[in-house]
């Protein structure tokens, strides 16, 4: 690897890393609860709500995120109502906001599936025990269902967190200069494709190792049987 290129590229990529981190953090912090809510919706008794949540998941899991981000950023921008509504335009007008929105919507769908099955597989008796105490649905959820489901879902969810970090790279297609955005620029400036690519990958890996290790520790902390 060429040292010149490395020293030239790293400052740019570090600037990008901040944006990547921002997108990923918001993506996870907002996408996680959102996904759980949708996951609950998919298991709800209300047919309409269930169908809405099911369709949302099918659409966002079934189509490439690149297309989703394009439609959110370029597609919706063609609707003049959205362009003239300050709130909506704030949401999708700025590349960064649109990227976060897309990441949240995308990870929400996957998170929903992970938690739907986790909720489904909880031993029925444990929930009945909570209900039989007269705890409100909210407390049954926060004190029994969620803690148990989380333990089961954590290994699969950790993958989702890593995916969010990586998928945030698609923000570069809508003018947001995160790691990949800078990387693309550096690559075509210097043609040192492999070198820059490897540095980029190392940055993503570093972030993900932190995230995955943190989640692994959390998992260990939470485990109670064997």
């Amino acid at each position: 690897m060429n040292l010149d290129i490395v020293t030239y590229a790293i400052p740019f990529l570090l600037v990008g890393a901040k944006t990547t981190l921002l997108i990923a953090l918001f993506g996870i912090v907002l996408g996680f609860p959102f996904g759980i809510v949708v996951g609950l919706g998919r298991g709800s008794k209300n047919r309409v709500l269930r169908n809405i949540c099911d369709s949302y998941c099918a659409i966002f899991r079934g189509t490439p995120m690149l297309v989703q981000i394009f439609i959110i950023y370029y597609g919706l921008a063609q609707v003049s109502f959205i362009r003239h509504n300050p709130v909506l335009w704030w949401l999708i007008g700025e590349g960064l906001n649109a990227a976060i929105l897309a990441v949240v919507l995308n990870t929400g769908a996957y998170t929903a599936e992970i938690f739907r099955t986790a909720f489904l597989s909880l031993p029925k008796g444990l929930i009945e025990a909570a209900e039989a105490c007269g705890m409100s649905p909210w407390h049954v959820f926060t004190r029994v269902k969620f803690p148990l489901a989380l333990r089961q879902a954590l290994p699969a969810y950790s993958s989702e967190a890593a995916i969010v970090v990586k998928e945030s790279s698609l923000a570069s297609t809508i003018t947001v200069l995160e790691i990949t955005g800078y990387a693309k620029r550096l690559m075509s400036e210097t043609f040192a494709i492999m070198d820059i690519f490897i540095i980029t990958a190392a940055l993503y890996l570093a972030m993900n190792v932190v995230a995955l290790t943190a989640l692994k520790l959390l998992e260990r902390r939470l485990s109670f049987v064997r």
């Binding site: 370029y74 921008a77 362009r83 003018t175 693309k184 620029r185 690559m187 400036e189 210097t190 494709i193």
Partner: protein
């Protein structure tokens, strides 16, 4: 390989390199490639690849040359060898018809007026570098594809778009483009060779001097014969040829 010249190209650049549904490549780059093959008495074989894998693929001998409108810059020459430049596209700013910028007449005027405005360019191009270097006061936005750049121009996310002439020919003819106009200042590579480079060249593996000599000769012949001009006129209705310096 014997008797074959393998050519790496992007395949998704309108007018330059277009892979049709059945895999044939047409466009300005393809014409240049076919011309070279004819000169060297080789059979052309196109390999269509995304931009980011063109260079690594050539390094691992998936093809011999890259003909994909590559701009020649000193920076890139550290990584690959170039043939002589054979063409260059003029660059234009595009703004809304009713914008005060529309009537500007020279580059310095533009440089002053554009302060603080958001400008869209294609990612990693020489002209992106040009804006970055020459007009540090603008808010620069980069796009992977021209269609994205024009979409943002149309939806008002950027005030000014900067790009090569063929792009604008197409865009200004569309319904979206009807509200926009070129600023009538033609910017050529020669205006700022330090950033804009020296025009388009054919990329080759480093140190492949034998091939470079052959390709240079063939290119020079094509320039002199007017073959390059012919292709340029066909695709761009303009002559982008750079004369061959002997």
């Amino acid at each position: 390989k014997d008797g074959v010249l393998r050519i790496g190209t992007e395949g998704d650049a309108p007018k330059f390199s277009m892979a049709d549904p059945s895999g044939n490549v047409t466009g300005f780059d393809a014409d240049i490639a076919n011309g070279i093959c004819a000169e060297l008495k080789l059979k052309c074989e196109f390999v269509v690849q995304t931009f980011s894998s063109l260079v690594p693929s050539m390094d691992s001998d998936r093809f011999d040359v890259i003909i994909s409108g590559l701009g020649i810059t000193a920076e890139r020459q550290k990584k690959i060898d170039y043939s002589i430049p054979y063409a260059t596209t003029p660059l234009y700013f595009v703004v809304a018809k009713d914008s005060p910028l529309a009537g500007l007449k020279s580059l310095p005027e533009i440089e002053k007026a554009i302060e603080g405005k958001s400008v869209g360019v294609a990612t990693g191009t020489t002209y992106a570098k040009f804006i970055e270097k020459r007009m540090p006061g603008v808010e620069l936005k980069t796009y992977d594809a021209v269609t994205q750049q024009t979409a943002d121009l149309a939806s008002g996310r950027i005030d000014v778009a900067f790009g090569d002439s063929p792009t604008w020919m197409d865009f200004l003819a569309t319904p979206d483009g009807a509200n926009f106009a070129k600023i009538d200042v033609r910017i050529m590579a020669m205006d700022a060779p330090d950033v804009l480079g020296h025009g388009m060249g054919i990329g080759m593996r480093k140190g492949n001097t034998e091939l470079k000599a052959k390709v240079d000769a063939a290119l020079c012949k094509m320039v002199d014969d007017g073959k390059v001009k012919e292709a340029s006129m066909q695709w761009f209705q303009d002559d982008y040829t750079i004369p061959c310096k002997k």
